[in-house]
Symmetry: none
Subunit: 456 residues, 2 copies
C-alpha cells in the first residue's frame, strides 16, 4: 500500500486543483437561488467518483431537494463493506464583507486553502475520494467493498439522504460507515468521536399588539414582544451560565473517569483556546465544569438571533407587534429531544408576560449519538490515522450534532466511525473558513490506510 | 369682539375656499422633488398673512431648506406678545391608493375636508390666520402683539426654524407661543397640553467572541451576546412592567389633582382602547398606575429591535459575535435626559456577563417639556376654547415629543401654549386625513377669543 501513499504524495497538486474547482461552486443548499449551483456540485461529485474508478455512479433523486451521489466498488466478496459519507453543500458565506478573499474564489495562502466549504465538508469528502482513487490507480482494486453516499442537504437539514437510506436499506447494507465531518481536537492529536451532542432548535414567536405602534403614544401600556422575549431568555439561562429549565439536566450522564483521563492528554490550554478560538476576554458557561467538559459532555442553550422590529440607523420609536427568537439547545447522550422540547416549551410559557402571546415551534431536533470504542471500524480508523499522520488518536465527544449519524445507526444498524481531517481553527460556518493542505494529504492517506486495515 | 365672531361665521365659505387652495399644493418637505411645491406653500402663507393685515411679511431663508414665513402686528405697546406657530409642509401621502379621493384634490364630504395636511397642520395654521384676520377686519387692530413663525420642515426634521429662533432671539421676544398642532382628546373635550414626554434613544452593542462561532463546537464556553443582552434587558424592566434602573423614577413628579380630575372627564375606556388601539388581550405596564397615567405622566422603556445573528428560515446554529439592541426611554417632566442616560449606562454595565463587552451609545435625546397650568397664556387659551367651542378644556400630557416646543422654550424662554383644533380620528400621516369644518370654525374663533383674553 506504500505505492498508494506515494501516488497520493505525487498527485497532491491535482488533488488541490480538483478541490479548488469544487470550492468555486457556491452550493448553498439553504438558499433556493443556489439550487442550480448545488446541483452542479452533485454532478462534480459524480464525475470525481467516476475518475476514482467507482462503478454504478449515479444521482439518486429525491422527491424534492438535492440528490444523493452514489457509487460503489463491490469487488471484494467476503471482505467488509464500508460506507463512505460526505456532503457537497455548504453554509451561506455571510457576512461576506468579513472574508479576506471572496468565499467562492478559493485563495491558497501559507499552505491553507481559504473558501466556504474548504473544511466543511468539501475538503474532507475529496480526501476520501482521492484516497480511494489512489488505491484504485495503483492496485487496480480495493481491499474491501465501498459504497459512497454523498448528500447535498447537510447544512439545510434536508431529508433526501435519510429517506434514501431508509428506502435502500438492503442495497446500503454495510459493516461500518466512515463519517469524516469533524476536526482534530489538537493539531497533534487526531480524534475519533464516541459521542455527539444532539440538537433541539426552536423558534419562539412573541405577538404583542396587533400592529406596530408608536412608543410615544403607546409606551407604558402596549406589550412589547422584545422586552417579553428578553424576560423569557433571561429565565432560561441565568447569569452564571446555568440553564434554569426545570428537569433540563436530569438525564445527563457524567463522563467516565477513563474519558476524563484521556481528555487530560489533549493538552487543552484554556487561556490559549479563549484567545485564539473565541477571541474574548472570558468564557461564559457552567462554572462548575472545565471548558473541555462543557464543550463535550454538557448540554447548553444559545440564542441565534431575534427577528422583527427596527434595526436600522437612527431612532425609529416603534413598539413592534411581533418578534421571533431563534433558540437552540445542544443535548448530550441520554437526553431525549422530545422530553427536552416539552420542558423548554413549558418553561417559556411560564415566563410569558401579560399582553404577549408566545408560540413555541420545534424547527429541528437531532438526538445525541454515541459510538463504541471497541468496534472494528473505529479500531481500524485509529491505526489508519496513526499511519497517515504519525500521531496517536484520542477518543472524544463532540459538541455538535451530525444528524446523519443517527440515520445511519437507525436505518442501517452500521458501526459509526466518526472522525475528521480538519483542524479546530478552520472557522467552519464563519468568514475565512480554511483547510490545511497538509491535513488534506493526511486525510487522503488515512483513507488509503483504513481500506487496508479493514481488509487485512 | 362678538363682531369678529360674526365675521368669522359669515366668511366661513371664503375660509374654506382658501384652505382648499392651500391643500392643493403637495408641499411634502421630505421629498426633494416637491421642493418647488413646498416653496409655493410658503408663498401662499405669506400672501395669507398679508391679507390678514400683518406687517413686515417676509420669507426668512435658511442656508439650506425651506423658509420660515414671518409677519407681525406690533401695534399694542404694553400688551403681551404672542408667537403664532404652524407649519406649511405635509407628510407624504403614501399609500396613495388607499385614499377615497386623491390626497391633493381636497374633497368635502359630510362637513369634513379630506386631504393630506387638512388637519396636520394647514387647517390649524389657517384657523389662526383667519382668526387674526377676522379681528383685523372688524376692529382694524389687535388687542395684543403677534409674531407669526410658520415653518416648512416640521415633517422632515429640518433645522431652519430652530436656527432662526436662536439667531433672532431678540426679534422674536414674546410672552408666549401658541402651538396648535395636536387634537382634541375627545370630540367633546378640547385639550391643552401641559407635558410632553422626552426621549433618550440608545444602542447597546454587545460583543462576545471575536467572530461568529458554531454552537456545536463552542456552545457552553463561548459568550453569546444575545443571551447577554436578554439578561441586560430583563434587568432594566421587570416582569411587572416596572423599570429597575436605580434612581430612574426619582425625579418624576406626579400629576396635580387638577390634571387628574380633568383626565376623568375624557371618558377613557380602557377595554375599548385595548381592543381598538392596541389589539392585544392585555396591557403591559406599571400595574400601580391607570392606563391614562401610564401614557401621559409615566416614563417608560422599550426595545425596538436587536440587530445581528441569524434570523432567516431554518436552523443555523451560529453563536453571533455581536448583537446591537435599540432601546429607548420616554421621560416625563422634571426628568433629566443626561442623568437618565448615565443611570441607564451604569445599570447596563452592572448587568454585563463574563466574556461580553457592552458599549452604550446615545442616539437621540429630547428633554421632556412641561407647561404650567397657571400660565397667563394657558389660562387665556382655556377660556378661549370654552368660548369658541362651548366645551371645557382638559389639561393633558402627551406621550410623544414635539421637538419645536423645546426649541421655543430653550431659545426664547416663552410660555408654551400647546393645543389643537383637530379630532383624534383625523388620521394624521395616514390615508383619508380629514379636518372637520366645524373644528376649523372653532379654531378661528378660539384664536379671536384668545387674542381678546390675553389683551384684557
Amino acid at each position: 500500500m506504500s505505492q498508494a501513499f506515494d501516488h497520493a504524495s505525487e498527485h497532491m497538486q491535482e488533488a488541490i486543483d480538483e478541490l479548488v474547482e469544487l470550492l468555486r461552486i457556491p452550493s448553498i443548499s439553504a438558499l433556493p437561488e443556489h439550487g442550480p449551483d448545488t446541483r452542479r456540485a452533485a454532478d462534480f461529485m459524480a464525475a470525481a467518483l467516476r475518475r476514482a474508478g467507482m462503478e454504478n455512479v449515479h444521482l439518486a433523486e429525491p422527491e424534492s431537494g438535492y440528490p444523493v451521489v452514489r457509487g460503489d466498488w463491490l469487488g471484494a466478496p467476503g471482505k467488509p463493506t464500508l460506507i463512505l459519507y460526505g456532503h457537497y453543500d455548504v453554509q451561506p458565506p455571510d457576512p461576506v464583507e468579513e472574508w479576506t478573499t471572496p468565499p467562492f474564489e478559493p485563495g491558497i495562502r501559507d499552505g491553507r486553502i481559504y473558501a466556504r466549504g474548504a473544511s466543511d465538508n468539501k475538503g474532507q469528502v475529496m480526501a476520501i475520494i482521492k484516497g480511494v482513487e489512489a488505491v484504485m490507480k495503483t492496485e487496480g482494486r480495493l481491499p474491501i467493498n465501498v459504497k459512497f453516499a454523498i448528500e447535498g442537504e447537510e447544512e439545510s437539514g434536508g431529508k433526501a439522504l435519510p429517506n434514501y437510506l431508509r428506502d435502500h436499506a438492503e442495497e446500503m447494507k454495510a459493516d461500518a460507515v466512515l463519517v469524516a465531518d469533524s476536526n482534530f481536537p489538537h493539531p497533534d492529536v487526531p480524534g475519533i468521536l464516541t459521542g455527539l451532542r444532539g440538537l433541539v432548535y426552536t423558534e419562539v414567536e412573541a405577538q404583542g399588539a396587533a400592529f406596530d405602534l408608536h412608543s410615544g403614544q403607546y409606551g407604558g401600556a402596549a406589550p412589547n414582544p422584545f422586552n417579553a422575549l428578553a424576560l423569557v431568555i433571561a429565565g432560561l439561562k441565568d447569569s452564571s451560565g446555568r440553564i434554569t429549565i426545570p428537569g433540563f439536566y436530569d438525564d445527563v450522564i457524567d463522563p467516565t473517569p477513563e474519558e476524563v483521563e484521556s481528555w487530560g492528554r489533549l493538552g487543552f490550554d484554556e487561556q490559549e483556546f479563549l484567545r485564539t478560538q473565541i477571541g474574548s476576554d472570558a468564557y461564559f458557561g457552567e462554572p462548575d465544569w472545565s471548558v473541555p467538559h462543557r464543550l463535550m459532555s454538557r448540554p447548553t442553550l444559545d440564542v441565534h438571533g431575534i427577528r422583527g422590529g427596527f434595526t436600522g440607523e437612527g431612532a425609529k420609536t416603534v413598539i413592534p407587534a411581533r418578534a421571533v427568537a431563534k433558540i437552540s439547545m445542544r443535548l448530550v447522550p441520554n437526553q431525549d429531544p422530545g422530553k427536552i422540547f416539552a420542558a423548554f416549551e413549558r418553561r417559556v410559557q411560564e415566563l410569558a408576560t401579560p399582553g404577549t402571546r408566545l408560540v413555541v415551534r420545534a424547527i429541528n431536533t437531532d438526538p445525541p449519538v454515541s459510538a463504541s470504542i471497541d468496534g472494528r471500524g473505529v479500531q481500524a480508523c485509529k491505526r489508519a490515522l496513526e499511519r497517515a499522520f504519525g500521531k496517536e488518536a484520542a477518543f472524544l465527544r463532540m459538541g455538535g450534532s451530525v444528524p446523519v449519524c443517527t440515520v445511519f445507526q437507525e436505518a442501517l444498524g452500521v458501526e459509526l466511525v466518526i472522525t475528521g481531517f480538519g483542524l479546530a481553527d478552520d472557522r467552519l460556518h464563519s468568514p475565512d473558513e480554511k483547510y490545511e493542505v497538509s491535513q488534506y494529504e493526511g486525510g487522503i492517506k488515512t483513507t488509503i490506510a483504513m481500506l487496508e486495515e479493514l481488509g487485512a
